[in-house]
């Protein structure tokens, strides 16, 4: 039998598992804890949110970095992270297309903050300022 579009699935995804643990930390564990442990339970729940968002947006970030590598690195080392290779090339002042690279960094940073801290106040300002038709939907913060 073909699965219907709206048929519920009993399969529990990694994202749903993380949500379950997050709920446990916030709703069950944190209220039972005191002081530093209560604070850290909330931090831990927030960390799981970062994990979920990185799972969702990591591929888009990777694609953006791959594209940057072909544009601005003269040689790409397979085993080193692209961000690191770009950072070293910048430190050596090898990337001269400052305006183009700045545009890439803006796009990249909207994604990175969408993963790590989508509610950071500067992000809304930056998103409005930098938003253009070229930006992929995945760069918008998932609330």
């Amino acid at each position: 039998m073909n699965r219907e579009e709206d048929q519920p699935s009993a399969d529990v995804s990694v994202d749903e598992l993380l949500s379950a643990v997050k709920s446990f930390l916030m709703e069950s564990a944190a209220p039972q804890l005191q002081g530093r442990n209560r604070f850290n339970a909330r931090v831990a729940a927030n960390v799981l949110g970062i994990t979920q968002r990185e799972n969702a947006m990591g591929p888009a970030l990777h694609a953006l970095d791959q594209d940057a590598a072909t544009k601005w690195l003269t040689t790409v080392e397979k085993d080193a992270p692209i961000a690191q290779q770009l950072s070293c090339a910048l430190a050596r002042r090898e990337i001269t297309d400052t305006a183009g690279f700045f545009d890439y960094l803006k796009r990249r940073q909207l994604l990175v903050t969408a993963i790590n801290n989508p509610k950071y106040a500067s992000r809304a300002v930056a998103e409005q300022r930098w938003q253009s038709a070229e930006l992929a939907p995945a760069t918008r913060a998932q609330q």
Binding site: V47, N116, N117
Partner: protein
């Protein structure tokens, strides 16, 4: 260290230091306060007097091993700088006792508890602090000018003179030491080097003068805390740091610490110093402050990876992305 053990060590160490200063026979109600990613803060009572203990939970040696370390002064040096500031009109707590890393208490100092609110979320938007907020930027300008007037000759040797190029080199070696993981911070550092202002005479800087490290009461500024990032540098650096996005705690529309305006900060500073800091230079140091916050986040990540610290420190490492975003946003605004 467990509270019971710390209480025991303090009860041996404190009586001779408190004699003729404060009434009391022993430590009670020792409690760790939340927050503080690199030093512990504990509240305790000596008799009826509430006190604060600042304590470094890891060995100084482990910190020194991190190249590009910007965790700042030892608590001994920090206590000495607070004592220097206490001779001025800057509101700082009285220091009662200082312990080095070989003391059973650990590297720590005990100081007076100043009543007031430090937690930004409690005073930045609450209507009961509206009067305090309205005068605070001017008061911060006054306090910074007074700190900057402290004679650098009296400082501990760890707070030595430096130059802008050496600051850039330290930032660069920090980025390298942490694995060159951030093209955004490297781009920002390149920009800061290319747009550096003329290096003005260096003064004693608080180095971490911001919302979250200030105690606020109904009259405004009640205390200036957390002197561990004290260093020498141009005066505008401290003013720019106070205005950094990350330290506005979401109140971006109020450039000074999320509570005030540039004009009041500059006017307060001028009223004491007799000269007026340049706004464009202050804004340059806001961008530098974003880089500093990014490096602090990287330091937290490195410390956590070396086995020191709990989940909060691991999480703070990810806040590097705030610093990166702010650097890019501020550079974009500067060049517009």
């Amino acid at each position: 260290m467990l509270p019971e053990e710390l209480t025991k060590h303090l009860n041996i160490a404190l009586p001779p230091l408190m004699a003729n200063k404060l009434e009391g026979a022993g430590v009670t109600a020792l409690e760790r306060l939340s927050g503080g990613a690199n030093n512990e803060t504990w509240r305790l009572a000596w008799g009826d007097t509430p006190l604060i203990l600042r304590r470094r939970p890891f060995s100084a040696g482990a910190v020194a091993n991190l190249e590009g370390n910007i965790l700042g002064l030892s608590l001994l040096d920090e206590a000495q700088v607070i004592q220097l500031a206490s001779r001025t009109a800057v509101p700082v707590p009285t220091v009662y006792g200082v312990f080095d890393e070989h003391h059973p208490v650990g590297e720590a100092f005990v100081m007076a508890f100043i009543p007031g609110e430090s937690i930004p979320q409690r005073w930045l938007t609450d209507a009961t602090f509206a009067r305090a907020r309205s005068r605070l930027a001017y008061q911060c300008g006054e306090a910074l000018a007074r700190i900057h007037a402290i004679d650098c000759k009296d400082l501990p040797s760890a707070v030595g003179p430096t130059t802008l190029p050496r600051r850039f080199e330290a930032a660069q070696s920090g980025l390298h030491a942490f694995g060159d993981i951030s093209p955004a911070l490297q781009f920002g550092l390149n920009w800061l080097i290319d747009h550096a202002p003329d290096d003005t005479p260096h003064v004693l800087l608080h180095g971490d003068f911001r919302t979250g490290n200030l105690l606020i009461n109904d009259d405004g500024l009640a205390g200036v805390l957390d002197w561990e990032l004290t260093h020498q540098g141009p005066a505008a650096e401290d003013l720019g740091y106070l205005c950094a996005h990350v330290w506005r705690f979401g109140q971006l529309q109020k450039p000074v610490g999320g509570f005030g305006d540039y004009e009041d900060l500059i006017a307060g500073y001028e009223s004491v110093a007799g000269w007026s800091p340049d706004l464009r230079t202050i804004r340059y140091w806001e961008i530098f402050a974003a880089l500093s916050w990014g490096l602090v986040c990287q330091t937290m990540g490195a410390l956590w990876k070396s086995g020191q610290g709990d989940v909060e420190r691991a999480a703070v490492a990810r806040r590097r992305s705030e610093a990166e975003l702010d650097m890019l946003l501020l550079i974009d605004e500067w060049e517009a």
